[in-house]
């Protein structure tokens, strides 16, 4: 249990281990919910453009079986809060060569819209480690061979144009 | 100078800074000036060129390179004033001779700026309006006499001119009317040459009433007597209401704060009591002194006037009016806040008998007849038996009925009023009660009028008056009044110490635009301090623009 709340998106107060604060909502008891305000009044084209996405890896070339550490960063470039609609509660995804989370197996996340909220000028940085293995079934993984791989990340949306980024790495023998 | 119309209360309208044309009229002051070289020209361009040439001359004399930086001020509460100040700012900046900034201040701060501008040598142009009464002395004395420098008078820019002082002094100490007219003519010419301040517009009072209730309304030109038309035997006026109801409901723009004549300090209180109190004389709607509590009077010598008093006059508290009341009423002013109302001229009263008395003046006093009509109050007020601040008691056609603080002020017909009726006015007012609702927001006044909660409104904004003017449901009655808007120059400061600079600016003022655009056509352009209301003394009468 505790572990969930140690992940940076869920805040909790020390004496109340069960309190999950819902994402981005009610960060402060301000009377005007600027987050909702921007959602209501900022055109979606601008909202999409406001968020920049970047994927970086700790290096360009990796030895075989060396963990690939990638950093995904979302940055709200605007000086007011932005809330994006997403197609899934898993608000962003990363993938290797098109395999979401380096897996051929879907993670069983329901298809329902959710939101991804940013404070003004907020940067959200997430880290993932790819073990150079692809999940090929529920219980099995397979190491990949040398070659070039495209690592990408983006907001979970059908029309995520501009809300994705990619980078290429090389794995050498 | 009775009324200090400093803080208006209009909020929320956009300041006007639209298309600003060149003033349509040639400065009247220009016509008066000795420098008549461009006399025949009437083109705006010519006016402007000559104005700019004048300013340039002044700048050269002072060794100033244009543009000269200064600031024009208005107080934040008065929207119209802000707008016209900005028009002036625009006009001056257009010449490239000035770099004028604009600033608005809250009234308290603004007042301090005004009163101390000369002392502090402020580089500022200040906008203001003042209103006066029936005698020209009021309009010039406090503003221009060197003895009335601010902060104790209204001579804000400490203008000092011996000739001006002389003319003012001689006019006030002169009771011969013709002589006075001449002196004031000379004074106004002198001021037009000197331009210590520029007069921009003379004001107008307007009352809007519901046609279905009121057939016709005659506007009293001065503030403080707005409700007199309801029943003013001295002026041959009374109000006939359209239907049989005998209640009249009007508005008041502020609460009635003090109804004791010797402490009264605002127009609203004046208005609320002008049907309650009566004086020896009254000034009618055209400015002519008429008998009221005196039936007749004559000037015995330069400093003595004899009055015959009306018999059978009863106060609302039952006292019978006698000469003693006059003496006591005058005496109450001594040492009071309103002392100058009486003690500027009053020396004493000789009571000859109950119905005859002589008033002695300290010196010959021109404005005597328009000044002597202060309220005559019962002796009980002097004894402290009744407090006029709580309950005004006089001899007028209406008596005080009820006062709900901040809500309304109500008068009731005084059935024992002395007037017996004549051809023009019946013995009794038709209106039985007058209720003045206190409504401090102009927009709310209009709403109340439109919602039929008011029969008439004396306090609508110029825009609202213009708006309702075309509506057949409403009658609008306007009258030129004794108020004027003006611009004060810091004449203690270069380059404003140069008369050419002031004269040049004076010519640039967009008077016509101000009247039409800012005041929605209410009022008229003005050039001299004595308003057209005082037609005999004003040298502007007729159409001064051409």
């Amino acid at each position: 249990m505790r572990r969930i709340y140690e992940s940076r998106a869920l805040e909790r107060s020390a004496d109340e281990p069960f309190v999950p604060s819902t994402n981005g909502d009610e960060r402060s008891p301000r009377t005007i919910d600027w987050d909702a305000f921007s959602h209501a009044f900022v055109p979606s084209a601008l909202r999409n453009r406001a968020i920049s996405v970047s994927v970086t890896t700790d290096r360009d070339v990796y030895a075989l079986e060396e963990p690939v550490r990638l950093t995904v960063e979302f940055h709200n470039r605007l000086p007011f809060p932005i809330r994006l609609r997403t197609d899934s509660p898993n608000v962003w995804t990363w993938s290797v060569d098109g395999f979401a989370a380096a897996s051929c197996v879907s993670r069983g996340v329901p298809d329902r819209p959710s939101t991804f909220s940013f404070a003004r000028n907020e940067r959200k940085r997430f880290r993932r480690t790819w073990s150079q293995r692809l999940r090929i079934s529920e219980t099995e993984w397979e190491g990949v061979g040398p070659g070039h791989y495209t690592v990408s990340a983006g907001v979970s949306r059908e029309d995520a144009r501009g809300l994705t980024d990619r980078t290429t790495i090389e794995i050498r023998e | 100078m009775g009324v200090w119309k400093g803080s208006g209360e209009r909020v929320g309208r956009r300041t006007f800074l639209g298309a600003v044309g060149v003033s349509g009229a040639i400065g009247f002051a220009g016509c008066l000036s000795e420098n008549g070289s461009e006399g025949g020209e009437t083109a705006d361009q010519a006016v402007e060129n000559s104005a700019e040439a004048l300013i340039r001359n002044g700048f050269e004399a002072a060794g100033i390179d244009p543009p000269f930086e200064t600031t024009i001020y208005a107080n934040a509460e008065n929207d119209e004033r802000i707008r016209w100040a900005q028009l002036v700012q625009y006009e001056l900046n257009e010449t490239d001779l000035f770099d004028v900034g604009f600033e608005q201040l809250e009234w308290g701060t603004y007042e301090q700026l005004l009163l101390n501008m000369a002392e502090n040598e402020e580089n500022c142009l200040v906008t203001l309006d003042l209103s006066g009464g029936w005698d020209p002395h009021i309009y010039v004395n406090s503003l221009f006499h060197s003895a009335h420098r601010a902060p104790n008078g209204f001579n804000f820019n400490h203008y000092a001119d011996e000739r001006t002082d002389e003319l003012i002094d001689s006019a006030v100490a002169e009771s011969d009317r013709e002589q006075r007219v001449e002196t004031y003519g000379a004074l106004q010419e002198r001021l037009a040459q000197q331009v210590p301040i520029s007069i921009v517009r003379s004001g107008e009072e307007a009352t809007v009433y519901r046609q279905e209730r009121i057939d016709d309304w005659r506007q009293y030109p001065l503030p403080g007597s707005e409700y007199d038309p309801v029943y003013a035997p001295y002026g041959g006026e009374f109000l006939e209401t359209e239907d049989e109801t005998t209640e009249l409901v009007g508005d008041a723009v502020a609460t009635v704060s003090n109804t004791d004549p010797v402490r009264m300090n605002d127009t609203t209180s004046n208005m609320a009591t002008s049907l309650i109190y009566e004086g020896l004389l009254a000034v009618d709607f055209d400015g002519t002194p008429r008998p009221l509590l005196a039936t007749d009077w004559e000037q015995l010598d330069a400093t003595t006037y004899r009055f015959d008093l009306r018999e059978g006059v009863e106060f609302h508290n039952g006292e019978t009016f006698t000469a003693d009341h006059v003496r006591a009423s005058f005496g109450r002013y001594e040492g009071s806040p309103r002392e100058p109302d009486v003690y500027d001229w009053y020396d004493g009263v000789d009571v000859i008998d109950d119905t005859e008395l002589e008033v002695h003046l300290t010196g010959e006093y021109g404005p005597f007849e328009t000044s002597v009509g202060v309220p005559i109050v019962p002796l009980a007020a002097g004894d402290g038996e009744i407090d006029l601040a709580d309950e005004p008691v006089g001899t007028g056609p209406y008596r005080f009925d009820e006062h709900a603080e901040g809500e309304y002020w109500r008068l009731r017909r005084f059935d024992d009023h002395w007037f017996d009726g004549d051809d023009a006015v019946p013995a009794q007012p038709t209106v039985e009660t007058i209720t003045m609702r206190i409504i401090s927001r102009p927009a709310a006044r209009r709403a109340a009028l439109e919602a039929d909660e008011l029969d008439l409104s004396v306090g609508l904004s110029a825009d609202d008056v213009a708006d309702l003017d075309g509506d057949p449901e409403y009658g609008v009655e306007r009258a030129a009044t004794g108020s004027f808007d003006f611009l004060i120059y810091p004449q203690y400061l270069e380059p404003f110490d140069d008369v050419d600079v002031r004269r040049g600016i004076d010519r640039l003022l967009p008077r016509q635009t101000i009247v039409e655009e800012v005041y929605a056509g209410q009022g008229t352009v003005a050039y001299t301090p004595i308003p057209p209301l005082l037609s005999e003394f004003s040298i502007e009468g007729g159409d001064p623009g051409v």
Partner: protein
């Protein structure tokens, strides 16, 4: 600690605040530009001796600190003196306006709570749903609407156009049906922004409580959802609302200044504006003092309400 002792202790801590507030208001009023004597004599050329005697009459010739002490001495005995402008006693003048402001303030306050609390609860429970959105937008509009504008619009629509209510107060006693009916518009005007604030606050406060463990605990005990919301979460979230509701008393007086003018309501707000514009210092002081006292008392009541709502507070101190 007993609630009585707690009350006394809490009340005692208000005394220095009160002293500070009085000194500050007194100082501010006197530091404002302008001289009341000028207003009194209308800038006429008054004999300096008369001026001086008027000054002496109202103690305006003394140093400020002496004026303050004299004033405090008078005020302590509820003697507010006489207004130099109106010549009337300040006490009755202020007292005469007080019922109007209290009536308007209390009804607006109750209305704002009556709207804000349920709306906030619904929004909190609906978190992110349509009702939440509606309340969110409603609150936004409510806060963003200037009350003088709202007042005028209501006045024109319901007073002038539809003629359902009067534009100016009727000539009726304050406690009458006509007056109550007239007060509907000013009450709505004054309550709107407050209701919006209460709604948002109630929502966020309730939201916070709903995420606390005891709420989950209450559900785990098999309580009805209504009980969970209204008995447990609501009572806990009221502390925040009580704070604001209490502080709103000062805000109400503030809003009353505008609303009272729009509706020609003869309350304290009007009196304050009038008195400031005619520099009626004793009245301004009395009104400001009253506002300060009201605020302090409101704070005191808020703290006492806390102690009633939340037992932890009365035990901790």
């Amino acid at each position: 600690m007993s609630i009585v002792r707690y009350t006394l202790r809490r009340a005692l801590t208000s005394v220095p605040v009160l002293i500070g507030a009085t000194a500050l208001t007194f100082g501010l009023v006197h530091l404002a530009p302008g001289d009341p004597i000028d207003v009194l004599v209308g800038f006429d050329h008054v004999d300096p001796a008369t001026r001086a005697s008027l000054r002496a009459e109202y103690n305006l010739d003394r140093p400020l600190w002496q004026q303050y002490l004299l004033w405090v001495r008078d005020v302590a005995t509820l003697e507010f003196g006489e207004s130099p402008i109106t010549g009337r006693d300040v006490g009755p003048t202020v007292a005469g306006r007080l019922p109007h402001t209290i009536a308007l303030g209390v009804s607006a306050w109750l209305l704002s709570l009556a709207i804000g609390i349920p709306a906030g609860i619904v929004a909190a429970v609906d978190d992110g749903g349509p009702a939440d959105e509606v309340s969110r937008i409603g609150a936004l509009v409510g806060i963003a609407t200037p009350n003088f504008w709202l007042g005028l619009v209501l006045l024109f629509v319901f007073g002038v156009q539809l003629g359902w209510v009067r534009v100016t107060p009727p000539d009726a006693p304050l406690a009458s049906l006509e007056m109550a009916w007239f007060m509907v518009l000013p009450t709505i005007t004054l309550a709107t922004a407050l209701a919006a604030v209460v709604t948002r606050l109630m929502r966020s406060s309730m939201r916070r409580e709903l995420e606390r463990e005891y709420v989950r605990g209450a559900r785990a005990r098999g309580l009805r959802e209504r009980t969970v919301l209204l008995k447990h979460a609501l009572r806990n979230s009221l502390t925040a609302v009580v704070t604001v509701a209490g502080l709103q008393i000062a805000l109400l007086l503030d809003g009353a200044v505008v609303v009272e003018q729009v509706f020609s309501w003869p309350g304290m707000g009007q009196l304050l504006v009038e008195s400031i514009s005619r520099r009626d210092f004793p009245v301004v002081q009395a009104v400001v003092l009253l506002i300060a006292v009201a605020t302090i008392v409101a704070n005191l009541l808020v703290d006492l309400a806390y102690a009633v709502i939340d037992p932890r507070i009365r035990h901790d101190r």
